[in-house]
């Protein structure tokens, strides 16, 4: 199913804020192979919340996750993430391009803290296509 170009400009909030707990951060860092002495928040950790926002977008537009391949991801950070942060994200569809066999969806997710201050922005390209 093609993704409609009229989605451009629509926004999709992640359904719930993400509590940056020591436990979550530890599990994420361990999955990247950091040893237990590492006590920062890995810079790619905000993908956990950006993924929730993306899932909200996919659910709303009835796109199956397994037909999505991540084409590009970039983060810019206003400040480091910290344990204790309570983060919220909203994804905005910026571009939809059809390549015939696939649609390439450009998105931006702003991630803000409990005070509403911008913490980081994630831009992602999602490639939708393949299979039946």
């Amino acid at each position: 199913m093609p993704v409609a170009a009229d989605l451009v400009g629509r926004s999709y909030p992640a359904p719930a804020p993400l509590e940056v707990t020591a436990e979550r951060v530890r599990a994420f860092a361990a999955a990247l192979g950091h040893d237990s002495s590492y006590d920062d928040v890995p810079p790619t950790f905000p993908i956990v919340l950006a993924f929730d926002a993306m899932q909200a977008f996919l659910d709303a537009e009835q796109v199956d996750l397994h037909r999505i391949v991540h084409g590009e991801q970039r983060f810019t950070y206003e400040r480091p993430l910290r344990v204790g942060d309570r983060l919220s994200a909203t994804l905005v569809v910026r571009t939809v391009r059809s390549l015939g066999v696939a649609d390439v969806i450009g998105t931006a997710s702003e991630i803000v803290d409990a005070d509403g201050a911008l913490v980081c922005t994630g831009t992602a390209t999602l490639v939708h296509g393949g299979g039946e």
Binding site: R24, A27, F28, A30, A31, L32, G33, H34, Y38, D40, P42, P43, T44, I47, V48, F51, D52, L65, H66, R67, I68, V69, H70, G71, E72, Q73, R74, F75, T76, Y77, P80, T123, T125, G130, G131, E132
Partner: protein
């Protein structure tokens, strides 16, 4: 490490990615896309087999960057996922991360990165920018 200067070549870092690592990353990140777990689903959407999460690859690059810089604050991190990292069931994939210091200006260090699995370049236009505190951790 000592202060970073333009042109510095950073030590190559090599990581292994096994199917068990994909399971652990899926759990920790919440990304349970079956193309990272299930051979049949991966092939059904035209992939050569189970592939690593792009964000696991980028996360390992983030780890390499943090190890090179002693945990310097990351200001930008990103890449295009130009070729999948295929993870066979019976042997881990390898990921080799090479970096050089491209530019140092205004307290920011920009790294040039080359990230490969086997001979295949898997990240396009990778970019990492770090903030270096003159008296801070990047000196560590």
């Amino acid at each position: 490490m000592s202060r970073l200067s333009a042109g510095d070549v950073l030590p190559r870092q090599v990581f292994e990615i096994s199917r068990a690592d994909l399971v652990a990353y899926a759990e920790a990140s919440g990304d349970h896309n079956p193309i990272h777990q299930d051979e049949e689903v991966a092939r059904s959407v035209g992939l050569p087999g189970v592939i690593a999460h792009g964000m696991l690859t980028l996360g390992l690059v983030g780890r390499a960057v943090q190890e090179w810089t002693g945990g310097a604050e990351v200001v930008e991190l990103g890449a295009k996922f130009v070729s999948p990292v295929v993870v066979p069931a019976d042997a881990p994939a390898t990921l080799a991360v090479e970096g050089t210091v491209k530019d140092v200006a205004d307290g920011l260090v920009t790294l040039a990165l080359d990230v490969r699995s086997g001979d295949t370049k898997v990240l396009g236009m990778p970019r990492a920018v770090l903030r270096v505190d003159p008296a801070g951790r990047s000196e560590g």
